[in-house]
Amino acid sequence: MGENIKISTKKVNVFYGDKKALENISLEIPEKKVTSLIGPSGCGKSTFIRCLNRMNDTIDICRIEGKIIIDNEDIYANEIDPVLLRAKVGMVFQKPNPFPKSIFENVAYGPRIHGLAKSNDELDELVTNSLIKAGLFEEIKDRIHEPGTSLSGGQQQRLCIARTIAISPQIILMDEPCSALDPIATAVIEELIDELAKNYTIVIVTHSMQQAARVSQQTAFFHMGNLIEVGRTDQIFSTPSQKKTQDYITGKIG
């Protein structure tokens, strides 16, 4: 498609114990674009996205083969520290999961552990900026020291996005970020994703084909642990080359 490639995976296989969850995934993800991963439940799209920031490391029985290259570095190479990687590849989860602390503390936690702010003023500014970028600041500026858990579901999810932005990642992974939200909150998040795509490479897993069509420039279709088809979003939804993709987007499988 002519853009810089940010992430490229080469023949990635993932196993949970003896069970193969992903088979031979080779995928290129362009920089500062939104790539959506679609497919029926259990197709491996969440497993794949969690490989990109090595979240799967926390699962003991999970084993990964193949190469995942981000900025010309194999992130599964021995010398790569997963903690450092996660500062570069942020993640937003399916269910909003703010810490049971104040809104400020939620956003300040990442910068604080990474030592990103030299002074309290700098930290304040960083938190405010992150909240502004996540489109949350105007709504909560008077109650920034109230618990993050007191916000509505959509606000909580934007708080989680602000928390991720605060550590200045280059890539943001979103694992079904709207599946627990109502349509209005979903629309707000989708707008936000559009806005964020100017500065960040975004990979989003979604159940909703409409959402994929609305927010992403590239779409990858997963089925039973295989990558069936990947291409420009408009192409995938109008003229898919594979029968399975056709079946899925027309509702015959999944």
Partner: protein
């Protein structure tokens, strides 16, 4: 379709009957539990409350200078060792001028606690101007008199079963009708340690002993157990060895407490030569016993913290350790504290391991340090229960009340802490 509904109706009757039966069983269970609780509390409190009060007798004490200071030197050393027992019996005798027989005098003198002779000596050393004078004083009655006053039904018993003779009963009734008897708060019970005389025995010594013991237990077990729990649950690799540890820690929680006592006897006393009967050793033994309880509580409260919190922290680039210390552990604290307090209240009520390391001695002073000889609350109750004198029956029940009060206090604290620190997410 209709026949199907009929079947459902039929089975519904059966299901409803089963439900009603189950409710009934549950109700019977709860009611009988409450009933037993009431019986226990009633019997303990009705006995024990008697020990919180004690009897005093009004005596016009004549400090005879012939007995106290015959040489008129006013020397404190000599006065201190004067025969104040005779002062008391002579003063009592003046209440009953017709008594002259020596054995009668002795029976009369036994109305007053033997501790009062020392108290009078102390009083006179400080107030020498009373020598040769008389003063109306309320003297502590002996335990036998106290028991009869508190249990009037005993007066109707035959002489052999009554603790006091017919003569003594006559005198007692005379004192009573002269209004020379009063009941007051039993200060000795709350301020003294053990004694051979029930009216002089108190719970304070064993309370201090229990307190010192529990401090040691808490200091030793809490940090070690929480660290072990966090390590095993969050940081340790899951392999055969940690599985083995896990099984054994669960087993340790079920080991009878007396085994820990034997371990303490063998290691702390016989090998390490720590002082016998001391709160420090008691605390160490109880810490061993409490460790597995707190480890298990720590692990289960860590487990109940939702994984989404861990993922959030890890996803932001926190290390495993940071995610535990900054987020998971604070959320687990209420559960850990509840488990700790439950473990501590079990330690407070434990007597068997303390018997093994000698905290069962007869000790008349409250311990002043962790190394002094001491008893503990449950052991004191056990000691009093096995003492023959009638006055200890009430003391035993009163000791149980004090122990129960502290257990309720600790469990109340656990509930309070749980509600105060519990966070919603």
């Amino acid at each position: 379709m209709n026949s199907n509904l009929d079947k459902v109706k039929l089975s519904l009757i059966k299901r409803k009957r089963e439900e009603a039966l189950f409710r009934f069983y549950g109700l019977v269970g709860i009611i009988s539990a409450i009933l037993f609780l009431i019986i226990i509390l009633y019997s303990v409190i009705s006995q024990g409350q008697k020990a919180f009060f004690t009897t005093f007798i009004k005596v016009d004490v004549y400090f005879d200078s012939e007995i106290i200071d015959p040489e008129n030197k006013r020397n404190s050393e000599d006065i201190q060792f004067a025969d104040f027992g005779t002062i008391i019996s002579e003063s009592l005798k003046r209440k009953f001028p017709h008594i002259s027989d020596k054995s009668d005098v002795r029976e009369l003198a036994s109305f007053i606690s033997t501790s009062e002779a020392d108290n009078l000596a102390e009083f006179i050393v400080k107030n020498k101007n009373y020598i040769g004078e008389s003063k109306i004083m309320w003297l502590l009655a002996s335990s036998t008199i106290d028991v009869i006053v508190k249990n009037p039904e005993m007066e109707k018993l035959i002489e052999e079963d009554r603790l006091i003779s017919d003569k003594q009963l006559d005198w007692l009734n005379q004192i009573k009708s002269n209004n020379e008897l009063k009941r007051e708060l039993n200060k000795n019970f709350f301020t003294k340690a053990d004694s051979t005389e029930p009216e002089q025995a108190g719970i304070w010594g064993s309370l201090v002993g229990s307190f010192l013991t529990l401090i040691i237990t808490l200091i030793l077990s809490f940090p070690v157990a929480v660290a072990a729990g966090v390590f095993l649950e969050e940081l340790a690799p899951k392999n055969k060895f940690t599985e083995f540890l896990e099984v054994n820690i669960n087993n340790l929680a079920a080991v009878p407490s007396i085994i820990f006592g034997l371990l303490g006897l063998a290691i702390f006393l016989n090998i390490m030569h720590l002082p016998r009967s001391a709160p420090i050793v008691g605390g160490m033994v109880l810490a061993l016993m409490t460790l597995p309880t707190i480890i298990i509580a720590t692990r289960s409260s860590l487990k109940s913290v939702p994984p989404s919190i861990r993922e959030a922290a890890i996803g932001l680039g926190a290390t495993k350790f940071q995610s535990v210390i900054d987020h998971v552990l604070p959320l687990a604290i209420p559960g850990i504290m509840t488990g700790t307090i439950i473990g501590m209240s079990r330690a407070l009520g434990e007597s068997a391991p303390l018997l093994m390391i000698g905290m069962v001695a007869f000790i008349v002073d409250a311990p002043g340090s962790f190394l002094d000889s001491s008893t503990a609350l449950p052991v004191q109750i056990y000691l009093w229960k096995s003492t023959a004198a009638r006055g200890f029956v009430e003391l035993t029940a009163a000791g149980v009340i004090v122990l129960l009060a502290f257990l309720i206090l600790m469990n109340g604290l656990a509930v309070f802490l749980r509600q105060k620190f519990e966070k919603k997410w």
